[in-house]
């Protein structure tokens, strides 16, 4: 089966710097197999996510979408791509436009992809908000009226309103309190289950990764040091860096 998204020997080097920030990265996102990118600050997780989102282009290697090279100049391909691949960011305070009502925010992908008019978008927006557990009257309110967890739900509603196949999420729960975090993890698990959504998640939180992703790739200084089934990578880590990450997770006293 052709992977939905694929990185092939991808490297990124920022202008004016001597070294690649990520190098030789090959990853495949298959439908129904959620993938976690794990690593610490500066490991290149967000750079990889930018590649997968088509926001950055690799300086070497390739990004493929449905088997074809991703080309930002190909408007027809980009339209299909944006419809299939949506994203949720870490900070629910900066990722929602404070001056727009929630209804308009959530409808944005439908409008900008030319899928719907204002009137045909409304029922889809209502359904998306309901799926993430928000009341229907949320459409008339502004982001500041919601808590961090609720805002992240709004961001998830916006990302899923056009029925994408893949949801790219950059640390989607790390800004949230632990009780809220559990609820948002449950919501993402539900969307995977019920809507067949495939997650690609960047996270440094291994317990969240273990809760949501079937596959894990571990990044250290821009290179993938280990990848495979999450149970394998986190259960029997082969690389010393992975072992160190797992041992560092603070645990509750038993």
């Amino acid at each position: 089966m052709t992977p939905v998204l694929e990185l092939k020997d991808a490297a990124v080097r920022y202008r004016g710097t001597a070294a690649d920030v990520v190098a030789d990265v090959s990853l495949a996102v298959e439908a129904g197999e959620s993938l976690a990118l794990v690593g610490e600050s500066g490991a290149g997780k967000t750079t990889l996510l930018r590649l997968l989102l088509g926001l950055a282009r690799p300086t070497a290697g390739a990004v493929r979408f449905d088997g074809a090279g991703l080309n930002p100049r190909d408007r027809e391909q980009m339209r299909r791509f944006r419809r299939s691949v949506q994203c949720v960011f870490q900070d629910p305070y900066s990722s929602l436009d404070p001056s727009r009502r929630v209804g308009a925010i959530v409808a944005e992908p439908l409008r900008s992809l030319g899928l719907d008019s204002r009137s045909t978008a409304a029922p889809k927006v209502a359904a998306a908000l309901e799926r993430v557990g928000l009341q229907a009257d949320a459409v008339d309110r502004y982001p500041h009226e919601f808590s961090g967890g609720q805002r992240q739900r709004i961001a998830i509603a916006r990302a899923t309103v056009c029925d994408p196949r893949v949801l790219l999420a950059d640390e989607p729960v790390s800004a949230l309190d632990v009780t809220t975090r559990v609820k948002v993890v449950d919501l993402l698990a539900e969307l995977k289950q019920e809507r067949g959504l495939t997650l690609v998640m960047v996270s440094h939180d291994l317990s969240v990764v273990a809760s949501l992703c079937e596959r894990t790739a571990v990044l250290e200084r821009g290179r993938v040091v280990e990848q495979g089934a999450t149970s394998q990578v986190l259960g029997e880590p082969g690389h010393p860096y992975t072992r160190r990450l797992i041992e560092s997770v603070p645990r509750l006293p038993v």
Binding site: E40, D177, S207, G235, P250, P253
Partner: protein, 266 residues
């Protein structure tokens, strides 16, 4: 001996909203207390009130006695001696806690000079030692660097060195590892634990993460909406939480953790 005695502490905004409500707790010399709660629970405001550092528009009432000095309603001038000497603080975000325009060595030298009266070569030696204590590699390079030139974990070590430079009797740590990567966090917790033990320093450790708190403190006070929900020995509270809110908090933490255990099973 009681080092910090908080009785009926209440923090109000000028428009009358109550953010910390009738909070009471004590920290004895050398004892470690964790304040745990979610965003908006009032845990950080409590630490600011303890130091007499509440922002404009907020007032505290009740009683906060820090090493015998009443902090509530005291004149700013009488508090400057208390801060640093009796209690020093490490904040969550080291980038905002450090002066971006001053070399790190000078930032540590200031409190050191004030306490010890050292100057010149001797002061430089003490700075070097302070940086070594928090296990920073190449202390001389770091002393010459600016905050943006070192990593987040190194910045937080510098902030810790600054707080320890005054040899306070109480170290207040407000989410000191939240902005750090998990392996850096583990090192930092171990470092705080060790340094505080050597100095028999008391600790008030603020965090939203029960597992992190349990690494450093013996007792914990759980806060919600400005009130104390429950307090006791960390291990007891984690094993057998009495209040509904604490139970939810522990259950959430356990649930995330169990995902890791399932995957780790052979």
């Amino acid at each position: 001996m009681t080092l910090l005695d908080v009785r009926g502490l209440t923090v109000r905004t000028d428009d009358g909203r109550i953010l910390v409500d009738d909070l009471s707790f004590t920290v004895a010399g050398g004892e470690r207390l964790g304040l745990i709660g979610e965003s908006g629970s009032g845990k950080s405001l409590t630490t600011l009130a303890v130091l007499g550092l509440l922002p404009d528009g907020m007032t505290s009432s009740g009683s906060v006695e820090l090493a015998g000095t009443q902090m509530v309603g005291a004149a700013e001038r009488s508090l400057t001696g208390v801060r640093g000497r009796d209690a020093a603080v490490v904040f969550q975000e080291p980038l905002t806690a450090l002066d971006p325009l001053m070399r790190l060595g000078r930032q540590i030298a200031e409190p050191l000079a004030r306490r010890t009266g050292l100057t010149g070569k001797h002061l430089r030696g003490a700075v070097h030692q302070a940086l070594e204590q928090v296990r920073l590699p190449e202390p001389d390079r770091i002393a010459r660097a600016f905050a943006h030139e070192v990593s987040g974990g190194q910045r937080q070590r510098v902030a810790l060195a600054m707080a320890l430079a005054c040899e306070p009797r109480l170290l207040i740590a407000d989410e000191p590892t939240t902005a750090l990567d998990v392996s850096v966090q583990a090192e930092m917790l171990e470092l705080i634990d060790g340094l505080v033990r050597e100095r028999e320093m008391a600790v008030l450790f603020v965090s939203h993460d029960l597992a992190v708190v349990s690494r450093v403190t013996d007792r914990v006070l759980v806060m919600k909406d400005g009130r104390a929900v429950e307090q006791g020995v960390v291990h007891d509270i984690v094993r057998a939480p009495r209040e509904t809110y604490t139970r939810a908090l522990v259950a959430s933490a356990r649930k995330l953790e169990s995902a890791l255990d399932l995957r780790s099973a052979p």
